[in-house]
Symmetry: C2
Subunit: 141 residues, 2 copies
DNA sequence: GCGAAAGTTTAGACAAATTCTAAAAACAGA
DNA sequence: TCTGTTTTTAGAATTTGTCTAAACTTTCGC
């Protein structure tokens, strides 16, 4: 369940000769504490609660930088791009009704066995997306 | 390997009290024959070869209507939204190098067994995304 | 601490993708 | 054919994301 870790961000900043700014700090903090997979817009809103002048460019630059360095993953669910700060191997559950995306621990899914692929592709990683009804939407029925 | 079937579209049209127009027919035909996962823009271009006046709105309306009725799936590849007319249960292989997406037949992946989910979500469908190197990119090495 | 060099942020312009709107056109049934 | 409804169309509007140049911070040697 490895989440985005501050010390990793700090060492990235150092080894790349970058600077740690308050904006970057707040974006990383928000990603660390959120339970969801926020959209760029949700990150924007959260950051603006602390720094009302933060521009879209800063949010996108920071998210893209984190993404390029493997600190967050981009996921597409319900027609919208989300950012997932949970980068260790894991899977997703998407609610067909409310669109919410939840992390599913690797251990919940038994070993997946592949038969040989038709085109002999070399598989490096695999991820499973489950779809259905989340707990909350089941109750609403 | 079920692909978008005309008779299913026809019965959708009937049960929903809609009309089968030439534009809808051409969009469905294009989706049936393409080997790829086209973007909305590619569908637009294809349809305009037969009906040069077809507007964006019509293309998007039709694609969204097909999507809402489960006749096509929206997939996100290389930062762009594509439409996948191949709706029977199947999986995807994404090349980490060239970004190409290939359909993987269900039979290539053995039964996936779920342990009980932490939050008791009700799973309806599951799909696997494999990532690695496609045949072409392996050769280029 | 101070100041210079480098990296960063900002606001707004820009671009692409998608949705919305109002009027014109096409369809299906009487 | 007439009528009412559904569709299509062109273009405007919105959304999402990128780019730019000028102003501003951070870092680091002094």
């Amino acid at each position: 369940m490895t989440r985005l870790a501050s010390h990793k961000v700090m060492s990235l900043v150092q080894t790349q000769g970058l600077k740690m700014t308050p904006q970057r700090r707040v974006i990383v903090e928000y990603l660390q504490t959120t339970k969801n997979h926020p959209t760029a817009d949700e990150v924007m809103t959260a950051v603006n609660r602390k720094f009302p002048m933060t521009s879209r460019a800063t949010v996108y630059n920071t998210l893209n930088w984190l993404k390029e360095n493997g600190m967050v993953k981009e996921v597409f669910e319900g027609g919208v791009v989300h950012f997932d700060p949970h980068t260790a191997a894991h899977h997703h559950f998407v609610c067909n009704k409310c669109g919410k995306v939840e992390d599913i621990d690797c251990s919940a899914i038994n070993e997946i066995k592949l038969c040989s692929l038709p085109d002999h592709q070399k598989v490096e990683t695999m991820e499973v997306t489950l779809r259905g009804l989340c707990a909350a939407c089941q109750k609403k029925r």
